[in-house]
Protein backbone atom coordinates (compact mmCIF):
# COMPACT_ATOMS: atom_id res chain seq x y z
CA UNK A 1 0.00 0.00 0.00
CA UNK A 2 1.01 3.59 -0.51
CA UNK A 3 1.24 5.88 2.53
CA UNK A 4 2.22 9.53 2.81
CA UNK A 5 4.73 9.61 5.64
CA UNK A 6 5.72 13.08 6.81
CA UNK A 7 4.64 14.50 3.49
CA UNK A 8 6.41 11.96 1.28
CA UNK A 9 4.80 9.07 -0.58
CA UNK A 10 6.17 5.69 0.41
CA UNK A 11 5.35 2.20 -0.84
CA UNK A 12 4.86 -0.63 1.67
CA UNK A 13 4.75 -4.30 0.74
CA UNK A 14 2.43 -5.11 3.65
CA UNK A 15 -1.26 -5.33 2.91
CA UNK A 16 -2.22 -5.10 6.57
CA UNK A 17 -0.39 -2.66 8.78
CA UNK A 18 -1.29 -0.98 12.04
CA UNK A 19 0.23 2.19 13.47
CA UNK A 20 2.29 0.33 16.04
CA UNK A 21 3.90 -1.74 13.28
CA UNK A 22 4.45 1.35 11.15
CA UNK A 23 6.38 3.00 13.99
CA UNK A 24 8.74 0.02 14.00
CA UNK A 25 9.10 -0.01 10.19
CA UNK A 26 9.85 3.70 10.23
CA UNK A 27 12.52 3.27 12.92
CA UNK A 28 10.80 5.48 15.46
CA UNK A 29 13.01 4.53 18.37
CA UNK A 30 11.13 6.38 21.09
CA UNK A 31 7.39 6.21 20.42
CA UNK A 32 6.88 8.12 23.68
CA UNK A 33 8.60 11.10 22.09
CA UNK A 34 6.32 11.28 19.11
CA UNK A 35 2.75 12.32 18.46
CA UNK A 36 1.10 10.49 15.54
CA UNK A 37 -1.26 12.36 13.24
CA UNK A 38 -3.35 10.27 10.85
CA UNK A 39 -5.26 12.26 8.22
CA UNK A 40 -5.55 15.35 10.47
CA UNK A 41 -6.54 13.45 13.62
CA UNK A 42 -4.15 12.77 16.46
CA UNK A 43 -4.13 9.21 17.75
CA UNK A 44 -4.01 8.12 21.35
CA UNK A 45 -1.10 5.82 22.13
CA UNK A 46 -3.27 2.96 23.43
CA UNK A 47 -5.02 2.93 20.03
CA UNK A 48 -1.90 2.42 17.91
CA UNK A 49 -2.26 -1.35 17.62
CA UNK A 50 -5.95 -1.14 16.77
CA UNK A 51 -5.69 1.48 14.03
CA UNK A 52 -5.03 -0.10 10.62
CA UNK A 53 -3.72 1.97 7.75
CA UNK A 54 -5.19 2.05 4.27
CA UNK A 55 -3.94 3.16 0.89
CA UNK A 56 -3.17 6.90 0.63
CA UNK A 57 -3.38 7.53 4.37
CA UNK A 58 -1.28 10.51 5.44
CA UNK A 59 0.74 9.92 8.59
CA UNK A 60 2.81 12.55 10.35
CA UNK A 61 5.23 11.83 13.16
CA UNK A 62 5.54 14.98 15.24
CA UNK A 63 8.40 14.91 17.67
CA UNK A 64 8.38 16.36 21.14
CA UNK A 65 10.99 19.08 21.38
CA UNK A 66 11.41 20.38 24.86
CA UNK A 67 14.46 22.58 24.49
CA UNK A 68 14.60 26.33 24.43
CA UNK A 69 17.33 27.19 26.79
Amino acid sequence: MKLIINGEAKEFSQTKLNVEELLVLENVEQPDMVSVQLNDEFLKKPDYAAVFLKDDDAVNFLYFMGGGE
Partner: protein, 269 residues
Amino acid sequence: MIDLNDEELERYSRHIILEDVGIEGQEKILNSKVLIIGAGGLGSPIAYYLAAAGVGEIGIVDGDVVDLSNLQRQIAHTTADVGIPKVESAKAKMLAVNPHVKVNIYHTMLYSGNILEIIGPYDFIIDGTDNFASKFLINDACVLLNKPLSHGGILRFSGQTMTIKPRESACYACVFDSPPPAGVVPTCSSAGILGAVAGMLGTIQAAEALKFITGAGTPLYNTLLAFDAKSMLFRSVKLKRNPKCRVCGENGITELRDYEQALCEVKNA
Protein backbone atom coordinates in the same frame (compact mmCIF):
# COMPACT_ATOMS: atom_id res chain seq x y z
CA MET B 1 -2.25 56.65 19.46
CA ILE B 2 1.14 58.24 19.81
CA ASP B 3 2.56 60.58 17.22
CA LEU B 4 5.99 59.44 16.16
CA ASN B 5 8.74 61.99 16.66
CA ASP B 6 11.63 62.49 14.25
CA GLU B 7 13.92 60.12 16.09
CA GLU B 8 11.29 57.38 15.99
CA LEU B 9 10.49 58.01 12.34
CA GLU B 10 14.14 57.44 11.55
CA ARG B 11 14.73 54.54 13.94
CA TYR B 12 11.74 52.61 12.64
CA SER B 13 11.92 53.81 9.03
CA ARG B 14 12.53 50.33 7.58
CA HIS B 15 9.38 49.10 9.28
CA ILE B 16 7.40 52.15 8.28
CA ILE B 17 8.21 51.77 4.59
CA LEU B 18 6.86 48.22 4.66
CA GLU B 19 3.45 48.33 3.06
CA ASP B 20 2.03 45.87 5.60
CA VAL B 21 3.36 47.78 8.61
CA GLY B 22 3.49 51.51 7.92
CA ILE B 23 3.16 54.21 10.58
CA GLU B 24 -0.01 52.60 11.83
CA GLY B 25 1.66 49.22 12.31
CA GLN B 26 4.66 50.79 14.01
CA GLU B 27 2.34 52.60 16.40
CA LYS B 28 0.70 49.27 17.20
CA ILE B 29 4.15 47.86 17.98
CA LEU B 30 4.97 50.83 20.22
CA ASN B 31 1.70 50.29 22.08
CA SER B 32 2.08 46.54 22.48
CA LYS B 33 3.07 44.43 25.46
CA VAL B 34 4.84 41.14 24.88
CA LEU B 35 6.03 38.61 27.44
CA ILE B 36 9.08 36.42 26.79
CA ILE B 37 9.29 33.35 29.01
CA GLY B 38 12.89 32.20 29.22
CA ALA B 39 15.94 34.39 28.67
CA GLY B 40 18.00 31.64 27.08
CA GLY B 41 18.65 30.35 23.58
CA LEU B 42 15.22 31.31 22.22
CA GLY B 43 14.60 34.26 24.53
CA SER B 44 17.86 35.99 23.59
CA PRO B 45 17.18 36.69 19.91
CA ILE B 46 13.51 37.31 20.70
CA ALA B 47 14.51 39.95 23.26
CA TYR B 48 16.83 41.69 20.82
CA TYR B 49 14.35 41.80 17.95
CA LEU B 50 11.37 42.90 20.03
CA ALA B 51 13.40 45.68 21.64
CA ALA B 52 14.81 46.76 18.29
CA ALA B 53 11.29 46.77 16.83
CA GLY B 54 10.14 49.11 19.59
CA VAL B 55 7.66 46.84 21.39
CA GLY B 56 6.44 49.27 24.05
CA GLU B 57 6.57 46.97 27.01
CA ILE B 58 8.56 43.76 27.12
CA GLY B 59 8.35 41.36 30.05
CA ILE B 60 11.01 38.70 30.48
CA VAL B 61 10.83 35.78 32.91
CA ASP B 62 13.75 33.58 33.98
CA GLY B 63 14.90 32.28 37.34
CA ASP B 64 18.45 31.45 36.31
CA VAL B 65 21.80 33.18 36.36
CA VAL B 66 24.16 33.25 33.39
CA ASP B 67 26.47 30.24 33.15
CA LEU B 68 29.56 29.89 30.98
CA SER B 69 27.91 26.98 29.11
CA ASN B 70 25.05 29.28 28.09
CA LEU B 71 27.19 31.59 25.99
CA GLN B 72 27.48 29.22 23.01
CA ARG B 73 23.89 30.13 22.06
CA GLN B 74 22.30 32.59 24.51
CA ILE B 75 23.42 35.70 22.68
CA ALA B 76 21.83 38.19 25.09
CA HIS B 77 24.55 37.29 27.59
CA THR B 78 28.27 37.98 27.39
CA THR B 79 31.30 36.59 29.17
CA ALA B 80 31.17 39.48 31.62
CA ASP B 81 27.60 38.53 32.58
CA VAL B 82 28.43 35.10 34.00
CA GLY B 83 26.86 34.84 37.46
CA ILE B 84 24.25 37.57 37.12
CA PRO B 85 20.53 36.92 36.64
CA LYS B 86 19.70 36.31 32.98
CA VAL B 87 16.77 38.72 33.12
CA GLU B 88 19.07 41.55 34.20
CA SER B 89 21.62 40.75 31.54
CA ALA B 90 18.91 40.58 28.87
CA LYS B 91 17.32 43.82 30.06
CA ALA B 92 20.62 45.66 29.74
CA LYS B 93 21.05 44.47 26.16
CA MET B 94 17.49 45.39 25.20
CA LEU B 95 17.87 48.90 26.60
CA ALA B 96 21.24 49.26 24.87
CA VAL B 97 19.56 48.50 21.54
CA ASN B 98 16.56 50.69 22.25
CA PRO B 99 16.33 52.84 25.37
CA HIS B 100 12.72 53.75 24.58
CA VAL B 101 11.24 50.35 25.40
CA LYS B 102 10.07 49.49 28.90
CA VAL B 103 11.45 46.18 30.18
CA ASN B 104 9.81 44.36 33.10
CA ILE B 105 11.91 41.59 34.60
CA TYR B 106 10.69 38.58 36.58
CA HIS B 107 13.59 36.74 38.20
CA THR B 108 11.56 33.70 39.12
CA MET B 109 10.56 30.23 37.93
CA LEU B 110 7.01 30.04 36.65
CA TYR B 111 4.55 27.77 38.38
CA SER B 112 0.79 27.47 38.65
CA GLY B 113 0.72 29.94 41.53
CA ASN B 114 2.35 32.91 39.77
CA ILE B 115 1.85 32.43 36.04
CA LEU B 116 -1.61 33.99 35.67
CA GLU B 117 -0.52 37.15 37.43
CA ILE B 118 2.63 37.41 35.32
CA ILE B 119 1.07 36.83 31.90
CA GLY B 120 -2.10 38.82 32.69
CA PRO B 121 -0.94 42.26 31.54
CA TYR B 122 0.51 41.14 28.19
CA ASP B 123 -0.99 41.01 24.68
CA PHE B 124 1.17 38.18 23.35
CA ILE B 125 3.13 35.46 25.12
CA ILE B 126 6.26 33.73 23.82
CA ASP B 127 7.39 30.38 25.16
CA GLY B 128 11.17 30.09 25.13
CA THR B 129 11.44 27.64 28.02
CA ASP B 130 13.52 24.49 28.10
CA ASN B 131 11.25 21.90 29.68
CA PHE B 132 7.89 20.26 29.09
CA ALA B 133 6.48 21.10 32.50
CA SER B 134 6.76 24.81 31.67
CA LYS B 135 5.61 24.43 28.08
CA PHE B 136 2.39 22.67 29.09
CA LEU B 137 1.78 25.05 31.99
CA ILE B 138 2.21 28.07 29.71
CA ASN B 139 -0.20 26.59 27.15
CA ASP B 140 -2.75 25.91 29.91
CA ALA B 141 -2.46 29.42 31.32
CA CYS B 142 -2.77 31.03 27.88
CA VAL B 143 -5.90 28.99 27.14
CA LEU B 144 -7.39 29.95 30.52
CA LEU B 145 -6.69 33.66 30.02
CA ASN B 146 -7.25 33.58 26.26
CA LYS B 147 -3.77 34.91 25.49
CA PRO B 148 -2.20 34.37 22.08
CA LEU B 149 0.95 32.32 22.34
CA SER B 150 3.98 31.40 20.29
CA HIS B 151 5.18 27.94 21.24
CA GLY B 152 8.75 26.99 20.45
CA GLY B 153 10.91 23.91 20.99
CA ILE B 154 14.41 23.00 19.86
CA LEU B 155 16.51 19.85 20.03
CA ARG B 156 19.99 19.20 18.60
CA PHE B 157 19.69 20.42 14.97
CA SER B 158 15.90 20.79 14.92
CA GLY B 159 13.28 23.28 15.88
CA GLN B 160 9.53 23.62 15.76
CA THR B 161 7.02 26.34 16.46
CA MET B 162 3.32 27.05 16.27
CA THR B 163 1.27 30.12 17.03
CA ILE B 164 -1.86 29.63 19.08
CA LYS B 165 -5.05 31.63 19.32
CA PRO B 166 -6.77 29.88 22.20
CA ARG B 167 -10.06 28.18 21.39
CA GLU B 168 -9.75 29.29 17.76
CA SER B 169 -6.66 27.43 16.59
CA ALA B 170 -5.03 24.19 17.73
CA CYS B 171 -3.23 24.50 21.05
CA TYR B 172 -0.04 22.73 22.13
CA ALA B 173 -2.05 20.04 23.92
CA CYS B 174 -4.23 19.44 20.84
CA VAL B 175 -1.03 18.16 19.23
CA PHE B 176 1.03 16.70 22.06
CA ASP B 177 -1.62 16.07 24.74
CA SER B 178 0.66 15.68 27.79
CA PRO B 179 4.35 15.74 28.65
CA PRO B 180 6.21 12.59 27.62
CA PRO B 181 7.08 10.25 30.48
CA ALA B 182 10.06 11.39 32.49
CA GLY B 183 13.15 9.37 31.71
CA VAL B 184 12.72 9.20 27.94
CA VAL B 185 13.03 12.94 27.59
CA PRO B 186 16.15 14.17 25.82
CA THR B 187 15.82 17.79 26.88
CA CYS B 188 18.65 17.55 29.34
CA SER B 189 21.86 19.36 28.67
CA SER B 190 23.19 16.03 27.41
CA ALA B 191 21.07 16.21 24.25
CA GLY B 192 22.89 19.27 22.97
CA ILE B 193 21.78 22.05 20.64
CA LEU B 194 23.49 23.80 17.76
CA GLY B 195 23.60 27.41 18.95
CA ALA B 196 22.48 28.88 15.64
CA VAL B 197 19.37 26.64 15.64
CA ALA B 198 18.17 28.47 18.75
CA GLY B 199 18.63 31.72 16.85
CA MET B 200 16.73 30.41 13.82
CA LEU B 201 13.72 29.42 15.87
CA GLY B 202 13.79 32.45 18.19
CA THR B 203 13.75 34.87 15.28
CA ILE B 204 10.78 33.03 13.76
CA GLN B 205 8.94 33.45 17.07
CA ALA B 206 9.84 37.16 17.21
CA ALA B 207 8.51 37.58 13.66
CA GLU B 208 5.28 35.81 14.67
CA ALA B 209 4.82 38.24 17.57
CA LEU B 210 5.33 41.24 15.29
CA LYS B 211 2.98 39.80 12.67
CA PHE B 212 0.34 39.29 15.34
CA ILE B 213 0.73 42.84 16.65
CA THR B 214 0.67 44.54 13.27
CA GLY B 215 -1.80 42.21 11.62
CA ALA B 216 0.62 41.64 8.76
CA GLY B 217 0.41 38.26 7.06
CA THR B 218 -0.91 35.06 8.56
CA PRO B 219 0.36 33.71 11.89
CA LEU B 220 1.28 30.04 12.21
CA TYR B 221 -2.23 29.16 13.42
CA ASN B 222 -3.13 25.48 12.95
CA THR B 223 0.37 24.97 11.62
CA LEU B 224 3.40 23.32 13.14
CA LEU B 225 6.48 24.64 11.38
CA ALA B 226 9.36 22.22 11.87
CA PHE B 227 12.87 22.32 10.46
CA ASP B 228 15.97 20.20 10.48
CA ALA B 229 19.11 22.30 10.08
CA LYS B 230 21.11 19.29 8.87
CA SER B 231 19.12 19.06 5.65
CA MET B 232 17.82 22.63 6.06
CA LEU B 233 14.40 21.36 5.12
CA PHE B 234 11.38 23.16 6.56
CA ARG B 235 8.01 21.46 6.83
CA SER B 236 4.61 22.94 7.65
CA VAL B 237 2.27 20.40 9.18
CA LYS B 238 -1.36 21.39 9.03
CA LEU B 239 -3.18 20.95 12.32
CA LYS B 240 -6.69 21.29 13.47
CA ARG B 241 -8.18 21.79 16.86
CA ASN B 242 -9.02 18.65 18.73
CA PRO B 243 -12.60 19.05 20.01
CA LYS B 244 -11.70 16.58 22.75
CA CYS B 245 -8.47 18.40 23.68
CA ARG B 246 -7.68 17.96 27.35
CA VAL B 247 -6.93 21.70 27.60
CA CYS B 248 -8.94 23.70 25.05
CA GLY B 249 -11.69 21.19 24.17
CA GLU B 250 -15.30 20.97 25.30
CA ASN B 251 -14.31 19.61 28.69
CA GLY B 252 -11.13 21.63 28.85
CA ILE B 253 -9.28 22.83 31.88
CA THR B 254 -10.78 25.22 34.37
CA GLU B 255 -7.81 25.55 36.66
CA LEU B 256 -4.04 25.18 36.59
CA ARG B 257 -1.84 22.45 37.92
CA ASP B 258 1.91 21.94 37.92
CA TYR B 259 3.29 19.22 35.67
CA GLU B 260 5.95 16.90 36.92
CA GLN B 261 9.40 17.89 35.81
CA ALA B 262 11.72 15.15 34.59
CA LEU B 263 14.59 14.75 37.01
CA CYS B 264 17.32 15.55 34.52
CA GLU B 265 15.63 18.87 33.82
CA VAL B 266 15.97 20.13 37.35
CA LYS B 267 18.16 23.16 37.45
CA ASN B 268 21.35 23.09 39.46
CA ALA B 269 22.27 26.70 38.83
